[in-house]
Symmetry: C2
Subunit: 244 residues, 2 copies
Amino acid sequence: MNLSIFGLKNIPYLKEGDSIEKLIEESIKTSEFFIEDNDVLCIASKVVSVAEGQVMSLNEIQVSDVAKEIHRNIPRKDPRIIEIMLNLVNRDLSRLDIKKNYIGCRLENGLKLTSGGIDRKSVDEVFLLPNNPDASAKRISEYLKKSLGKNVAVVITDSDGREDKRGATQVAIGIYGIHPLRKTEVIDSQGETIKFQEETLCDMIAACAGLVMGQRGTGIPAVLIKGLDYKWFENTSIKEALNE
Amino acid sequence: MNLSIFGLKNIPYLKEGDSIEKLIEESIKTSEFFIEDNDVLCIASKVVSVAEGQVMSLNEIQVSDVAKEIHRNIPRKDPRIIEIMLNLVNRDLSRLDIKKNYIGCRLENGLKLTSGGIDRKSVDEVFLLPNNPDASAKRISEYLKKSLGKNVAVVITDSDGREDKRGATQVAIGIYGIHPLRKTEVIDSQGETIKFQEETLCDMIAACAGLVMGQRGTGIPAVLIKGLDYKWFENTSIKEALNE
Protein backbone atom coordinates (compact mmCIF):
# COMPACT_ATOMS: atom_id res chain seq x y z
CA MET A 1 0.00 0.00 0.00
CA ASN A 2 1.50 3.32 -1.11
CA LEU A 3 -0.02 6.64 -0.15
CA SER A 4 -0.05 10.12 -1.67
CA ILE A 5 -0.78 13.10 0.53
CA PHE A 6 -1.90 16.42 -0.89
CA GLY A 7 -2.45 19.70 0.91
CA LEU A 8 -5.55 21.48 -0.40
CA LYS A 9 -4.60 24.89 -1.74
CA ASN A 10 -6.26 28.27 -1.92
CA ILE A 11 -8.60 27.83 1.01
CA PRO A 12 -9.04 31.39 2.33
CA TYR A 13 -9.28 32.41 5.98
CA LEU A 14 -12.79 31.50 7.03
CA LYS A 15 -15.38 33.54 8.83
CA GLU A 16 -18.56 32.50 10.55
CA GLY A 17 -21.15 31.24 8.13
CA ASP A 18 -18.70 30.37 5.35
CA SER A 19 -19.34 26.99 3.81
CA ILE A 20 -16.23 24.92 4.50
CA GLU A 21 -17.56 22.20 2.18
CA LYS A 22 -17.93 24.63 -0.70
CA LEU A 23 -14.42 26.03 -0.20
CA ILE A 24 -13.03 22.48 -0.16
CA GLU A 25 -14.97 21.59 -3.30
CA GLU A 26 -13.51 24.63 -5.10
CA SER A 27 -10.02 23.79 -3.91
CA ILE A 28 -10.33 20.19 -5.16
CA LYS A 29 -11.70 21.34 -8.53
CA THR A 30 -8.63 23.48 -9.19
CA SER A 31 -6.08 21.04 -7.75
CA GLU A 32 -3.40 19.06 -9.54
CA PHE A 33 -4.91 15.71 -8.51
CA PHE A 34 -8.19 13.95 -9.30
CA ILE A 35 -10.47 13.05 -6.45
CA GLU A 36 -11.37 9.36 -6.29
CA ASP A 37 -13.65 7.08 -4.29
CA ASN A 38 -12.06 6.09 -0.97
CA ASP A 39 -9.79 9.09 -0.73
CA VAL A 40 -9.65 10.37 2.86
CA LEU A 41 -10.13 14.07 3.51
CA CYS A 42 -8.76 15.49 6.77
CA ILE A 43 -9.91 18.88 7.98
CA ALA A 44 -8.57 20.90 10.90
CA SER A 45 -11.27 21.35 13.52
CA LYS A 46 -10.51 25.04 13.71
CA VAL A 47 -11.88 25.89 10.27
CA VAL A 48 -14.94 23.74 10.91
CA SER A 49 -15.45 25.60 14.21
CA VAL A 50 -15.24 28.98 12.52
CA ALA A 51 -17.64 27.99 9.75
CA GLU A 52 -20.08 26.66 12.35
CA GLY A 53 -19.83 29.75 14.56
CA GLN A 54 -18.09 27.95 17.42
CA VAL A 55 -16.20 31.08 18.45
CA MET A 56 -16.86 32.57 21.86
CA SER A 57 -16.10 35.95 23.36
CA LEU A 58 -14.35 35.72 26.72
CA ASN A 59 -15.66 39.07 27.90
CA GLU A 60 -19.11 37.78 28.78
CA ILE A 61 -17.83 34.89 30.90
CA GLN A 62 -18.61 35.05 34.65
CA VAL A 63 -15.70 33.38 36.41
CA SER A 64 -16.88 31.16 39.29
CA ASP A 65 -14.98 30.59 42.54
CA VAL A 66 -14.14 27.05 41.43
CA ALA A 67 -12.55 28.34 38.23
CA LYS A 68 -10.59 30.93 40.25
CA GLU A 69 -9.31 28.20 42.54
CA ILE A 70 -8.17 26.04 39.61
CA HIS A 71 -6.54 29.10 38.05
CA ARG A 72 -4.46 29.55 41.24
CA ASN A 73 -3.05 26.06 40.59
CA ILE A 74 -2.44 26.65 36.92
CA PRO A 75 -1.88 30.41 36.52
CA ARG A 76 -0.95 30.31 32.84
CA LYS A 77 -4.52 29.30 31.97
CA ASP A 78 -7.01 32.17 31.64
CA PRO A 79 -9.70 31.71 34.35
CA ARG A 80 -12.38 32.51 31.79
CA ILE A 81 -11.20 29.55 29.67
CA ILE A 82 -11.22 27.37 32.80
CA GLU A 83 -14.81 28.46 33.37
CA ILE A 84 -15.75 27.31 29.85
CA MET A 85 -14.02 23.97 30.51
CA LEU A 86 -16.05 23.56 33.70
CA ASN A 87 -19.19 23.95 31.63
CA LEU A 88 -17.94 21.46 29.04
CA VAL A 89 -17.68 18.80 31.78
CA ASN A 90 -20.97 19.83 33.43
CA ARG A 91 -18.91 21.02 36.44
CA ASP A 92 -17.79 17.43 37.13
CA LEU A 93 -14.24 18.01 38.42
CA SER A 94 -13.36 14.32 38.08
CA ARG A 95 -13.38 14.89 34.33
CA LEU A 96 -10.63 17.51 34.62
CA ASP A 97 -7.01 16.39 34.84
CA ILE A 98 -4.72 19.03 36.32
CA LYS A 99 -1.01 18.58 36.77
CA LYS A 100 1.72 21.18 36.74
CA ASN A 101 1.06 23.33 33.69
CA TYR A 102 -1.27 20.87 32.09
CA ILE A 103 -5.04 20.86 32.15
CA GLY A 104 -6.88 18.08 30.32
CA CYS A 105 -10.59 17.63 30.01
CA ARG A 106 -12.71 14.57 29.24
CA LEU A 107 -15.52 15.76 27.02
CA GLU A 108 -19.05 14.40 27.06
CA ASN A 109 -18.37 12.11 24.09
CA GLY A 110 -15.35 10.57 25.88
CA LEU A 111 -12.53 12.39 24.11
CA LYS A 112 -9.82 13.65 26.43
CA LEU A 113 -8.17 16.77 25.08
CA THR A 114 -5.80 19.39 26.43
CA SER A 115 -7.92 22.37 27.55
CA GLY A 116 -10.96 20.51 26.25
CA GLY A 117 -9.97 21.48 22.74
CA ILE A 118 -10.50 25.18 23.52
CA ASP A 119 -7.97 27.29 21.65
CA ARG A 120 -7.36 31.00 21.85
CA LYS A 121 -8.33 32.98 18.76
CA SER A 122 -7.34 36.41 20.04
CA VAL A 123 -6.95 38.17 23.38
CA ASP A 124 -10.69 38.01 24.04
CA GLU A 125 -11.93 35.18 21.87
CA VAL A 126 -11.60 31.41 21.77
CA PHE A 127 -12.43 28.62 19.36
CA LEU A 128 -14.54 25.81 20.77
CA LEU A 129 -14.61 22.44 19.06
CA PRO A 130 -17.31 21.82 16.47
CA ASN A 131 -20.48 20.94 18.34
CA ASN A 132 -20.72 17.45 16.80
CA PRO A 133 -17.58 16.64 14.80
CA ASP A 134 -19.00 13.33 13.47
CA ALA A 135 -21.98 15.22 12.07
CA SER A 136 -19.68 17.85 10.52
CA ALA A 137 -17.64 15.08 8.86
CA LYS A 138 -20.79 13.47 7.50
CA ARG A 139 -22.19 16.77 6.19
CA ILE A 140 -18.95 17.57 4.33
CA SER A 141 -18.66 14.05 2.88
CA GLU A 142 -22.27 14.08 1.69
CA TYR A 143 -21.79 17.51 0.10
CA LEU A 144 -18.75 16.24 -1.84
CA LYS A 145 -20.64 13.11 -2.91
CA LYS A 146 -23.35 15.33 -4.35
CA SER A 147 -21.08 17.89 -5.97
CA LEU A 148 -18.16 15.73 -7.12
CA GLY A 149 -19.75 12.27 -7.24
CA LYS A 150 -17.13 10.57 -5.06
CA ASN A 151 -17.26 8.81 -1.71
CA VAL A 152 -14.62 10.54 0.38
CA ALA A 153 -14.17 9.63 4.05
CA VAL A 154 -13.77 12.68 6.27
CA VAL A 155 -11.71 12.98 9.46
CA ILE A 156 -11.92 16.13 11.61
CA THR A 157 -8.58 16.64 13.37
CA ASP A 158 -7.44 18.60 16.39
CA SER A 159 -4.03 19.43 17.86
CA ASP A 160 -3.07 17.45 20.94
CA GLY A 161 0.06 16.21 22.63
CA ARG A 162 1.42 13.31 24.68
CA GLU A 163 2.39 13.54 28.31
CA ASP A 164 6.01 12.56 27.65
CA LYS A 165 6.59 14.65 24.54
CA ARG A 166 6.87 18.34 23.73
CA GLY A 167 4.67 19.84 21.07
CA ALA A 168 1.45 18.75 19.49
CA THR A 169 0.45 16.20 16.94
CA GLN A 170 -3.00 15.81 15.34
CA VAL A 171 -5.68 13.44 16.58
CA ALA A 172 -9.11 12.57 15.21
CA ILE A 173 -12.20 14.05 16.89
CA GLY A 174 -14.83 13.26 14.27
CA ILE A 175 -15.14 10.78 11.44
CA TYR A 176 -17.37 9.62 8.59
CA GLY A 177 -17.09 6.96 5.88
CA ILE A 178 -14.36 4.87 7.52
CA HIS A 179 -14.13 2.85 10.72
CA PRO A 180 -11.88 4.66 13.23
CA LEU A 181 -10.06 1.45 14.21
CA ARG A 182 -8.14 -1.09 12.12
CA LYS A 183 -7.92 -4.68 13.28
CA THR A 184 -4.92 -6.73 12.23
CA GLU A 185 -4.14 -10.36 12.80
CA VAL A 186 -0.67 -10.68 14.32
CA ILE A 187 1.13 -13.68 12.85
CA ASP A 188 4.41 -15.03 14.22
CA SER A 189 7.33 -16.35 12.17
CA GLN A 190 5.77 -19.84 12.04
CA GLY A 191 2.61 -18.41 10.51
CA GLU A 192 0.60 -18.84 13.72
CA THR A 193 -1.91 -16.20 14.78
CA ILE A 194 -0.80 -14.79 18.13
CA LYS A 195 -3.50 -12.20 18.64
CA PHE A 196 -5.62 -9.56 17.00
CA GLN A 197 -4.19 -6.10 17.31
CA GLU A 198 -6.24 -2.94 17.23
CA GLU A 199 -4.82 0.21 15.70
CA THR A 200 -6.10 3.75 16.20
CA LEU A 201 -6.39 4.22 12.44
CA CYS A 202 -8.21 7.56 12.80
CA ASP A 203 -5.34 9.08 14.81
CA MET A 204 -2.68 7.83 12.39
CA ILE A 205 -4.67 9.41 9.57
CA ALA A 206 -4.91 12.68 11.53
CA ALA A 207 -1.19 12.72 12.35
CA CYS A 208 -0.30 11.96 8.76
CA ALA A 209 -2.42 14.94 7.64
CA GLY A 210 -0.73 17.02 10.34
CA LEU A 211 2.62 16.59 8.56
CA VAL A 212 1.24 18.59 5.63
CA MET A 213 -1.20 20.85 7.50
CA GLY A 214 1.24 22.30 9.91
CA GLN A 215 -0.24 24.69 12.42
CA ARG A 216 -2.56 27.64 12.12
CA GLY A 217 -1.38 30.29 9.72
CA THR A 218 0.17 27.92 7.22
CA GLY A 219 -3.01 28.11 5.15
CA ILE A 220 -3.48 24.38 4.63
CA PRO A 221 -6.40 23.37 6.84
CA ALA A 222 -7.39 20.40 4.67
CA VAL A 223 -5.38 17.46 3.38
CA LEU A 224 -6.30 14.59 1.06
CA ILE A 225 -4.85 11.10 1.56
CA LYS A 226 -4.97 8.84 -1.49
CA GLY A 227 -4.27 5.10 -1.60
CA LEU A 228 -5.36 4.06 1.89
CA ASP A 229 -6.86 0.58 1.78
CA TYR A 230 -10.14 0.65 3.73
CA LYS A 231 -13.77 -0.37 3.46
CA TRP A 232 -16.34 2.37 3.02
CA PHE A 233 -18.37 2.46 6.21
CA GLU A 234 -21.18 4.90 6.87
CA ASN A 235 -22.47 4.02 10.32
CA THR A 236 -19.41 5.19 12.16
CA SER A 237 -18.49 7.54 14.96
CA ILE A 238 -15.38 8.63 16.77
CA LYS A 239 -17.00 7.04 19.83
CA GLU A 240 -16.12 3.60 18.50
CA ALA A 241 -12.45 4.48 18.97
CA LEU A 242 -12.88 5.63 22.56
CA ASN A 243 -12.06 3.73 25.72
CA GLU A 244 -14.98 2.87 28.01
CA MET B 1 4.07 20.18 0.35
CA ASN B 2 2.88 16.85 -1.04
CA LEU B 3 4.13 13.54 0.33
CA SER B 4 4.52 10.06 -1.09
CA ILE B 5 4.66 7.12 1.28
CA PHE B 6 6.09 3.76 0.23
CA GLY B 7 6.17 0.53 2.18
CA LEU B 8 9.49 -1.27 1.71
CA LYS B 9 8.90 -4.70 0.24
CA ASN B 10 10.55 -8.10 0.52
CA ILE B 11 12.09 -7.60 3.93
CA PRO B 12 12.17 -11.15 5.38
CA TYR B 13 11.46 -12.11 8.99
CA LEU B 14 14.61 -11.17 10.89
CA LYS B 15 16.65 -13.19 13.32
CA GLU B 16 19.30 -12.10 15.77
CA GLY B 17 22.44 -10.88 14.06
CA ASP B 18 20.74 -10.05 10.74
CA SER B 19 21.76 -6.69 9.34
CA ILE B 20 18.58 -4.63 9.20
CA GLU B 21 20.46 -1.93 7.25
CA LYS B 22 21.54 -4.41 4.58
CA LEU B 23 18.01 -5.80 4.21
CA ILE B 24 16.68 -2.26 3.85
CA GLU B 25 19.34 -1.42 1.27
CA GLU B 26 18.37 -4.48 -0.78
CA SER B 27 14.69 -3.64 -0.52
CA ILE B 28 15.32 -0.07 -1.70
CA LYS B 29 17.48 -1.26 -4.61
CA THR B 30 14.68 -3.42 -5.97
CA SER B 31 11.86 -0.98 -5.26
CA GLU B 32 9.71 0.97 -7.70
CA PHE B 33 10.94 4.34 -6.39
CA PHE B 34 14.30 6.10 -6.36
CA ILE B 35 15.80 7.05 -3.05
CA GLU B 36 16.65 10.76 -2.71
CA ASP B 37 18.34 13.07 -0.25
CA ASN B 38 15.96 14.12 2.55
CA ASP B 39 13.71 11.11 2.26
CA VAL B 40 12.66 9.90 5.72
CA LEU B 41 12.94 6.21 6.54
CA CYS B 42 10.79 4.83 9.37
CA ILE B 43 11.59 1.46 10.89
CA ALA B 44 9.55 -0.52 13.40
CA SER B 45 11.53 -0.92 16.62
CA LYS B 46 10.72 -4.63 16.66
CA VAL B 47 12.91 -5.52 13.71
CA VAL B 48 15.72 -3.35 15.07
CA SER B 49 15.37 -5.14 18.42
CA VAL B 50 15.58 -8.56 16.78
CA ALA B 51 18.62 -7.62 14.69
CA GLU B 52 20.31 -6.24 17.81
CA GLY B 53 19.49 -9.29 19.92
CA GLN B 54 17.09 -7.43 22.23
CA VAL B 55 15.00 -10.56 22.80
CA MET B 56 14.76 -11.99 26.30
CA SER B 57 13.64 -15.36 27.59
CA LEU B 58 11.09 -15.08 30.39
CA ASN B 59 12.04 -18.42 31.93
CA GLU B 60 15.15 -17.07 33.63
CA ILE B 61 13.38 -14.17 35.32
CA GLN B 62 13.17 -14.27 39.13
CA VAL B 63 9.92 -12.58 40.08
CA SER B 64 10.33 -10.31 43.12
CA ASP B 65 7.67 -9.68 45.76
CA VAL B 66 7.15 -6.17 44.42
CA ALA B 67 6.43 -7.53 40.95
CA LYS B 68 4.01 -10.07 42.44
CA GLU B 69 2.20 -7.30 44.29
CA ILE B 70 1.85 -5.20 41.13
CA HIS B 71 0.65 -8.28 39.26
CA ARG B 72 -2.17 -8.67 41.81
CA ASN B 73 -3.36 -5.20 40.79
CA ILE B 74 -3.03 -5.84 37.09
CA PRO B 75 -3.48 -9.61 36.62
CA ARG B 76 -3.41 -9.60 32.82
CA LYS B 77 0.26 -8.58 32.85
CA ASP B 78 2.74 -11.46 33.23
CA PRO B 79 4.65 -10.94 36.52
CA ARG B 80 7.91 -11.77 34.74
CA ILE B 81 7.31 -8.86 32.36
CA ILE B 82 6.52 -6.62 35.35
CA GLU B 83 9.87 -7.71 36.83
CA ILE B 84 11.68 -6.61 33.65
CA MET B 85 9.84 -3.27 33.81
CA LEU B 86 10.98 -2.81 37.40
CA ASN B 87 14.55 -3.24 36.20
CA LEU B 88 14.00 -0.78 33.33
CA VAL B 89 13.07 1.92 35.87
CA ASN B 90 15.81 0.91 38.32
CA ARG B 91 13.06 -0.22 40.72
CA ASP B 92 11.81 3.38 41.04
CA LEU B 93 8.06 2.84 41.41
CA SER B 94 7.30 6.51 40.80
CA ARG B 95 8.29 5.87 37.20
CA LEU B 96 5.54 3.27 36.80
CA ASP B 97 1.98 4.38 36.10
CA ILE B 98 -0.61 1.76 36.98
CA LYS B 99 -4.33 2.22 36.45
CA LYS B 100 -6.96 -0.40 35.78
CA ASN B 101 -5.58 -2.59 33.03
CA TYR B 102 -2.88 -0.16 32.04
CA ILE B 103 0.75 -0.13 33.06
CA GLY B 104 3.00 2.60 31.71
CA CYS B 105 6.67 3.06 32.35
CA ARG B 106 8.92 6.12 32.10
CA LEU B 107 12.21 4.89 30.68
CA GLU B 108 15.61 6.25 31.59
CA ASN B 109 15.71 8.48 28.49
CA GLY B 110 12.35 10.06 29.44
CA LEU B 111 10.06 8.22 27.04
CA LYS B 112 6.86 7.00 28.62
CA LEU B 113 5.58 3.85 26.96
CA THR B 114 2.94 1.24 27.71
CA SER B 115 4.68 -1.72 29.36
CA GLY B 116 7.98 0.12 28.86
CA GLY B 117 7.91 -0.91 25.21
CA ILE B 118 8.21 -4.59 26.17
CA ASP B 119 6.24 -6.73 23.76
CA ARG B 120 5.59 -10.45 23.83
CA LYS B 121 7.30 -12.48 21.12
CA SER B 122 6.01 -15.89 22.16
CA VAL B 123 4.78 -17.59 25.33
CA ASP B 124 8.22 -17.41 26.92
CA GLU B 125 10.01 -14.62 25.09
CA VAL B 126 9.72 -10.84 24.85
CA PHE B 127 11.14 -8.10 22.69
CA LEU B 128 12.83 -5.26 24.54
CA LEU B 129 13.33 -1.89 22.86
CA PRO B 130 16.60 -1.33 21.03
CA ASN B 131 19.20 -0.42 23.61
CA ASN B 132 19.85 3.04 22.13
CA PRO B 133 17.31 3.81 19.37
CA ASP B 134 19.03 7.10 18.40
CA ALA B 135 22.26 5.19 17.82
CA SER B 136 20.41 2.54 15.78
CA ALA B 137 18.86 5.28 13.63
CA LYS B 138 22.27 6.86 13.07
CA ARG B 139 23.94 3.57 12.20
CA ILE B 140 21.27 2.73 9.61
CA SER B 141 21.37 6.22 8.07
CA GLU B 142 25.16 6.17 7.83
CA TYR B 143 25.09 2.73 6.22
CA LEU B 144 22.63 3.96 3.55
CA LYS B 145 24.74 7.07 2.95
CA LYS B 146 27.73 4.84 2.27
CA SER B 147 25.92 2.25 0.18
CA LEU B 148 23.39 4.38 -1.71
CA GLY B 149 24.97 7.83 -1.47
CA LYS B 150 21.88 9.57 -0.05
CA ASN B 151 21.17 11.39 3.20
CA VAL B 152 18.09 9.70 4.59
CA ALA B 153 16.74 10.67 8.01
CA VAL B 154 15.77 7.65 10.10
CA VAL B 155 12.98 7.40 12.67
CA ILE B 156 12.63 4.29 14.85
CA THR B 157 8.95 3.80 15.72
CA ASP B 158 7.09 1.88 18.40
CA SER B 159 3.43 1.08 18.97
CA ASP B 160 1.72 3.08 21.67
CA GLY B 161 -1.73 4.35 22.51
CA ARG B 162 -3.55 7.26 24.08
CA GLU B 163 -5.41 7.11 27.34
CA ASP B 164 -8.75 8.06 25.81
CA LYS B 165 -8.55 5.92 22.69
CA ARG B 166 -8.61 2.23 21.88
CA GLY B 167 -5.81 0.68 19.88
CA ALA B 168 -2.29 1.77 19.13
CA THR B 169 -0.68 4.30 16.89
CA GLN B 170 3.05 4.65 16.19
CA VAL B 171 5.34 7.05 18.06
CA ALA B 172 9.02 7.90 17.57
CA ILE B 173 11.57 6.44 20.01
CA GLY B 174 14.78 7.18 18.12
CA ILE B 175 15.80 9.65 15.43
CA TYR B 176 18.68 10.74 13.21
CA GLY B 177 19.10 13.35 10.47
CA ILE B 178 16.06 15.48 11.34
CA HIS B 179 15.02 17.56 14.34
CA PRO B 180 12.20 15.78 16.22
CA LEU B 181 10.22 19.01 16.67
CA ARG B 182 8.90 21.50 14.13
CA LYS B 183 8.39 25.12 15.12
CA THR B 184 5.75 27.13 13.31
CA GLU B 185 4.83 30.76 13.62
CA VAL B 186 1.11 31.11 14.21
CA ILE B 187 -0.26 34.06 12.28
CA ASP B 188 -3.79 35.41 12.76
CA SER B 189 -6.10 36.69 10.04
CA GLN B 190 -4.56 40.18 10.26
CA GLY B 191 -1.11 38.76 9.58
CA GLU B 192 0.03 39.21 13.19
CA THR B 193 2.19 36.61 14.86
CA ILE B 194 0.27 35.26 17.87
CA LYS B 195 2.76 32.68 19.09
CA PHE B 196 5.24 30.02 18.07
CA GLN B 197 3.76 26.58 18.06
CA GLU B 198 5.77 23.43 18.55
CA GLU B 199 4.77 20.25 16.78
CA THR B 200 5.87 16.72 17.63
CA LEU B 201 7.10 16.18 14.08
CA CYS B 202 8.76 12.85 14.94
CA ASP B 203 5.47 11.37 16.18
CA MET B 204 3.51 12.59 13.16
CA ILE B 205 6.14 10.96 10.94
CA ALA B 206 5.88 7.72 12.95
CA ALA B 207 2.07 7.68 12.82
CA CYS B 208 2.14 8.38 9.10
CA ALA B 209 4.45 5.40 8.59
CA GLY B 210 2.14 3.35 10.81
CA LEU B 211 -0.66 3.75 8.25
CA VAL B 212 1.41 1.71 5.79
CA MET B 213 3.30 -0.51 8.23
CA GLY B 214 0.31 -1.94 10.00
CA GLN B 215 1.13 -4.29 12.81
CA ARG B 216 3.45 -7.25 13.16
CA GLY B 217 2.91 -9.95 10.57
CA THR B 218 2.02 -7.60 7.74
CA GLY B 219 5.63 -7.82 6.53
CA ILE B 220 6.21 -4.10 6.09
CA PRO B 221 8.48 -3.04 8.95
CA ALA B 222 9.99 -0.10 7.06
CA VAL B 223 8.38 2.82 5.26
CA LEU B 224 9.86 5.64 3.20
CA ILE B 225 8.35 9.14 3.27
CA LYS B 226 9.24 11.35 0.31
CA GLY B 227 8.61 15.07 -0.02
CA LEU B 228 8.76 16.17 3.61
CA ASP B 229 10.26 19.64 3.81
CA TYR B 230 12.93 19.61 6.54
CA LYS B 231 16.51 20.65 7.19
CA TRP B 232 19.10 17.89 7.44
CA PHE B 233 20.26 17.88 11.04
CA GLU B 234 22.80 15.45 12.41
CA ASN B 235 23.19 16.36 16.08
CA THR B 236 19.78 15.25 17.10
CA SER B 237 18.18 12.93 19.62
CA ILE B 238 14.70 11.88 20.61
CA LYS B 239 15.49 13.51 23.95
CA GLU B 240 14.98 16.93 22.38
CA ALA B 241 11.31 16.04 21.93
CA LEU B 242 10.82 14.94 25.53
CA ASN B 243 9.26 16.89 28.37
CA GLU B 244 11.62 17.71 31.23
